[in-house]
């Protein structure tokens, strides 16, 4: 089983990112489960969502405490929320940022990937300039970074899940897919 935890802020689309991810894996024949952690459904508040992927039926119905990979929609959360709690060593931390992360302390235990999903979302007219909706871009980047799921499946899932701007969202996923930076864990 692969367990993925998504960290973001209310309004960025973290919960839908977890659902799109699950649906993309489903389109490739996997068993999937996605759900949010609740209680802070306010714009700007830190939120978490979970995705499970398996070759067999998923029976565990509880939050994810030991994720294989992390998806981080707002890089400020790295300093404000203990995002790496329980994260398995060697997994990917995919971060929406324009910063260079090659000296990040996160690299001590994990691989880090970065993509400027905010810039891509704004370019494709997703959300506003001050509050871009970055979920579809970051899911495209996830496919590129981990190789666990294809961009085609991600784009199909995006079209099934977004209520508006299907093409723009799918294009944002592709652009993020093609513009992700991977930094291997420091040995």
């Amino acid at each position: 089983m692969i367990e993925i935890r998504t960290h973001g802020r209310g309004g960025q689309g973290s919960v839908i990112a977890s659902e799109i991810l699950a649906d993309a894996f489903f389109r490739e024949g996997k068993f999937v489960q996605a759900f949010p952690a609740f209680g802070v459904e306010r714009r700007g508040a830190p939120v978490m969502a979970f995705t499970r992927v398996s070759d067999t039926d998923i029976r565990e119905r509880c939050q994810i405490y030991h994720p294989d990979h992390l998806v981080v929609l707002d890089s400020v959360l790295i300093d404000t929320v203990r995002i790496t709690d329980g994260l398995k060593k060697g997994g990917w931390i995919l971060i929406n940022t324009g910063e260079d992360m090659k000296d990040s302390p996160l690299l001590k235990n994990n691989n880090v990937a970065t993509v400027n999903a905010s810039r891509i979302a704004i370019k494709h007219g997703l959300g506003s300039r001050s509050a871009p909706i970055v979920n579809t871009a970051i899911v495209g980047a996830f496919a590129a970074v981990t190789g666990l799921v294809s961009l085609d499946a991600v784009q199909e899932a995006i079209k099934a899940f977004v209520p508006l701007k299907e093409e723009e969202n799918a294009a944002a996923a592709r652009e993020a897919y093609e513009n992700v930076t991977r930094i291997e864990m420091k040995k």
Partner: protein, 383 residues
């Protein structure tokens, strides 16, 4: 067709496939998605039903009572305080013998306010006379709706479908979606023998003198008795048609189990992963999922638990001054049939997460604790 959908929408798809004719509801977290999607389906013609907006849950059930008495297949959904506000009308539905189906998303009762799951809302309606079915997956949730209508309409008794807030209601997973065309043979249109009809007037819920009231109560209990066989038969018929069979209970690796964990809702799903892990370690353990709570499946419980050496009942609810509610029921079912120890555990209230680690802790306690049946066992309480 298979789709990735949330538990709440699995309810909506089940109602669509059942071709309900009247849907009336008042929004409440975490139920709102159920009726949001249904109102959309009504608006775009996916379902030929009348959607009645109301100002409270009491009115929602009252609208369902009226619709059902007039011969329509009626549905509503609610949670927690909403279910409590409906209480008077829930009794009315039973007394009038109306086959309404209600989906209750288990949400803890306030104060303090909670939007998270536990079973005290639905279980506080234990003695009202609704059939209660607890679901563990989105697929089971969707599939149970047409079964619920079929059972309700044959017995003239309302059926409550119950699912955990968030751990099911907001969880996306794969569901094989039922279409109305394929369900119609299984669940034909509702045609009651007696209904409100201006051309052939009848009265529902009129005054019953002491000469009659008791007999009418007796008949409700008789219908509940019949429900046991009917739920099994309906679950089997559903399985024959759609490949997914359902029963009153679902035993897992119980055949040679020395310890059996009794669970319901999503906990019944998570626990199976723990059972497998413990079996690998050579521990003889199994689990029994209680799918149906009312009518209580006495016979199945006796048969399956009777061969164990110890029974642990896990309750995501509490009857204050009593114990866990499933615990009380299991214990009373076993009384006089076996003297094996039955131990109760209270856990997961107000949405406290029930992880495989928590369930392992309960299983180990149940096996190793020498005298646990002498007190209420709270799991994970910070003192």
């Amino acid at each position: 067709m298979k789709k990735t959908i949330m538990g709440n929408h699995a309810v909506s798809y089940g109602v669509r496939a059942s071709e309900a004719k009247v849907i009336s509801a008042y929004p409440i977290t975490p139920q709102t998605h159920v009726v949001e999607l249904l109102s959309e389906m009504c608006a775009n013609g996916e379902i030929d039903a009348k959607f009645i907006k109301v100002e409270s849950e009491h009115s929602a059930m009252a609208a369902c009572v009226g619709a059902s008495a007039a011969g329509s297949r009626a549905f509503t959904a609610t949670s927690s305080q909403g279910l409590l506000l409906m209480t008077e009308m829930l009794h009315w539905a039973v007394g009038s013998r109306l086959p309404i189906v209600l989906a209750n998303i288990n949400r803890a009762i306030g104060p303090p306010w909670s939007i998270w799951t536990d079973q005290n809302d639905s279980l506080s309606m234990r003695d009202v006379g609704w059939v209660q079915i607890y679901c563990e997956s989105n697929q089971e949730t969707q599939d149970t709706i047409p079964q619920a209508f079929k059972i309700a309409e044959q017995l003239q008794l309302p059926v409550m479908l119950v699912l955990d807030a968030f751990f099911l209601s907001h969880t996306y997973e794969i569901v094989d979606i039922l279409e109305a065309e394929e369900v119609r043979d299984f669940l034909p249109p509702y045609k009651p023998e007696i209904k409100l009809d201006v051309n052939e007037p009848h009265s529902f819920g009129n005054l019953a003198s002491p000469d009659y009231y008791m007999e009418l109560r007796y008949m409700i209990e008789e219908a509940m008795g019949e429900a046991r066989e009917l739920i099994k038969k309906t679950g089997k018929e559903f399985g024959e048609r759609f490949g997914r069979e359902y029963g009153l209970v679902h035993p897992y690796r119980c055949d040679d189990a020395e310890t059996i964990l009794v669970c319901s809702g999503t906990v019944a799903s998570t626990v199976r992963a723990v059972i497998d892990q413990m079996r690998e370690e050579g521990i003889k353990i199994g689990s029994l999922k209680m799918r149906v709570f009312r009518p209580f499946p006495f016979e199945e419980v006796r048969e399956i638990l009777g061969s164990a050496k110890k029974v642990a009942v896990l309750d995501r609810n509490i009857s204050f001054g009593g114990h866990g509610i499933f615990f009380q029921e299991v214990k009373s079912a076993l009384y006089g049939f076996t003297d094996i120890p039955v131990v109760g555990y209270i856990l997961g209230l107000g949405g406290r997460d029930v992880t495989p680690e928590v369930l392992r802790e309960v299983a180990d306690k149940a096996i190793n604790d020498k005298n646990p049946e002498t007190y209420i066992n709270w799991i994970g309480v910070k003192k």
